[in-house]
């Protein structure tokens, strides 16, 4: 059996100080600037706004355990291609 490398496959260091959009389990979405992260994917974000309401949250800690995905170069809403 091949030993898998112990490095994380996600390279978050290159996204520090960039704006990302995060989707959580349960449907919450926020966008903010990534300040730091840890091995469990907990994040510190700045200038956070909740989407879609645009409610301002400010400096926020996000729990990695509930993160579904994050978008790095922004998100664009498109028409439903499956209809």
């Amino acid at each position: 059996m091949n030993q898998l490398p112990k490095e994380s496959i996600i390279k978050l260091q290159s996204h520090i100080n960039k704006e990302i959009v995060i989707q959580f389990q349960g449907g919450r979405q926020v966008k903010g600037i990534l300040l730091s992260f840890d091995i469990q994917l907990n994040l510190v974000l700045d200038e956070v706004r909740e989407l879609p309401s645009q409610r301002i949250l400010g400096l926020v800690i996000c729990r990695g355990a509930l993160i579904n995905s994050f978008a790095i170069d922004g998100m664009v809403e498109i028409e439903n291609p499956y209809i």
Partner: protein, 77 residues
């Protein structure tokens, strides 16, 4: 340049007000007394916002598994 880790920022928030957004539509605001590695938290003088209803709780242990976002120094808005 020192970057602050998520748990480090939470540690700094001990003894101050925090605003917690859960995975569902509930929010809590209270004074953070302590937390553990699983983000379970002890909060005091808590306001719970549940479906628009506000409840006051003196001291609670909040289960970390449902906690989504933590705003140090924040308040329910």
């Amino acid at each position: 340049m020192t970057t602050i880790l998520p748990l480090g920022l939470l540690d700094k928030a001990i003894s101050s007000r925090v605003w917690i957004l859960m995975k569902d539509d509930r929010e809590f605001e209270g004074t953070l007394r302590g937390f553990d590695d699983f983000f379970n938290m002890v909060l005091e003088n808590v306001i719970e916002l549940d479906n628009g209803k506000k409840n006051k709780l003196e001291q609670i242990l909040l289960n970390g598994t449902q906690i989504c976002l933590i705003v140090p120094g924040g308040e329910i808005s």
